[in-house]
């Protein structure tokens, strides 16, 4: 194996170029954010844009501060985060279980397929009134909304991962006399881990859509509630603040999944 000591000059130049490119990308990303925020702040400061309509970074920070002081900040974040995380886990777990059932029987798969196709294309928000009447107006309803927004995709992606398992490996398991359960646990589940990671990434985004959509329809607290309420009373600082917090939270949750993926898929 080589080490840095005996790399050729050409290779060192190549490494240097790669490193420089990485730094440029990193800096550019932050620069764009700083530019947007700075411009936004300046334009509102000099009244080119009306901060009542567009809010501004400093007003967002002030709003966060006042929400924090009144003790509302973490209450709203906690509620929405709780709903999103609960909905996410239920959708993934239930979706995975249903995918296992569909995987195990080709006949069941064929029977259920049209239902999945229709449910997949149905805009879930259409179920809003039904959910309120059937489940009520507390956060269970919002979690339910989150689950139905995500579950179909979880089923379809997971199942696709199961069915993409190398047929040679399936033959091998069969030849060794493995039953359905052994095939599932020893081959299908581990082989489809990368597919599961992809599903999780998409499911996280859908969970946020579900919880905020749920809060739009029915809620008394949460970030989605703040956005709707802020819009109704023309408190756009509140709308911007809640949106900003959502961006940060969604980014963090995606980051956690991406980190887990890196760790899990390393072995593949």
């Amino acid at each position: 194996m080589k080490n840095t000591m005996n790399f050729s000059g050409e290779h060192l130049a190549y490494l240097k170029k790669q490193r420089r490119r990485k730094i440029i990308i990193f800096l550019s990303r932050w620069l764009i954010l700083a530019l947007i925020l700075g411009l936004w702040e300046l334009l509102t400061y000099f009244k080119v844009m009306d901060p009542f309509i567009t809010s501004s970074p400093s007003r967002v920070i002030r709003t966060i501060g006042s929400l924090y002081e009144s003790g509302d900040l973490f209450r709203h974040i906690g509620i929405t985060l709780g709903e999103t995380v609960a909905g996410f886990f239920i959708a993934v777990a239930a979706g995975y279980s249903i995918a296992v059932v569909l995987w195990s029987s080709e006949t069941v798969r064929a029977v259920v397929e049209p239902y999945i196709v229709v449910l997949n294309s149905l805009p879930k928000i259409a179920l809003g009134p039904l959910i309120i009447i059937w489940i009520g107006t507390d956060c269970t309803a919002i979690i339910f909304m989150t689950v139905i927004v995500g579950i179909i995709l979880c089923i379809m992606n997971t199942l696709a991962g199961f069915l993409a398992v190398d047929p040679t490996k399936l033959t091998l398991m069969k030849a060794m006399g493995a039953g359905r359960l052994a095939t599932l646990t020893k081959l299908v589940v581990p082989a489809s881990l990368p597919a599961l990671m992809n599903t999780l990434k998409v499911a996280v985004g859908l969970a946020w859509i579900g919880s905020i959509m749920g809060e739009y329809i029915v809620s008394r607290a949460g970030l989605g509630y703040l956005i709707v309420y802020g819009g109704q009373v023309m408190k756009l600082d509140l709308v911007m603040t809640a949106t900003f917090i959502l961006c940060v939270l969604a980014g963090c949750m995606y980051g956690i999944i991406a980190l887990i993926e890196k760790f899990v898929v390393k072995q593949f």
């Binding site: 020893k186 881990l193 072995q267």
Partner: protein
Amino acid sequence: MLEFKSISYSYHTKSGETAAVSDLNFTVGKGQFVSVIGPSGCGKSTILSLAAGLLKPSSGEIIKGSGEFGYMLQRDALFEWRTVEQNIFLPLEIKKRNTAEMRARAVGLAEKYGLKDFLKKSPSQLSGGMRQRAALIRTLAAEPEILLLDEPFSALDYQTRLEVCDDVQSIIKSEKKTALLVTHDISEAIALSDKVVVLSARPAHVVAEHMIAFGDSPKSRRNDSRFAETFEVLRKELGI
């Protein structure tokens, strides 16, 4: 050890029925290495599936001795998420014989056949030849009596193929296993086997059987003048 008695087998698909094998007769004696060659698509793999009991014959009888089958496939099908060692333990786990004793035996086999330094590695760190060797050790780990080899070398490049071919043959011989190989490669069949069974095109039946007696290793056979003669005979019988 293994006897096919007037075996027929048909595939059923929507578009109809395809006779893959018809009135097939041959035997594999204990400790014998038998190769089945035939034109491609003649139902060679079907024969192995029938032998292993994965498929039931439409008619006829397969007489089996005691002991289990071990399967080796066209590709090694090693699980990337397991180390080489864990791959070798796979059949033990599935057959619920995952005892310390069986594991030690499997590791012993792996060490005996040059996989000692690779046991804790991932399959992706192994060369194609080494991977196929690991696949063979995996097959042997469950102590099968008969090995069913489904063109196990066809996915390898030519040089590796000769190497692995000799390798696998010597391991099978020194472990005193019975083997049934299906292949479309005439020279592979001659180099490896005690007996070559030539099949017709679909529906497959036996055209000829040849005992190969010269040479004592695949290498010495390839260097023997009778290799080319046998090759010609088989080639004509296959009609190519």
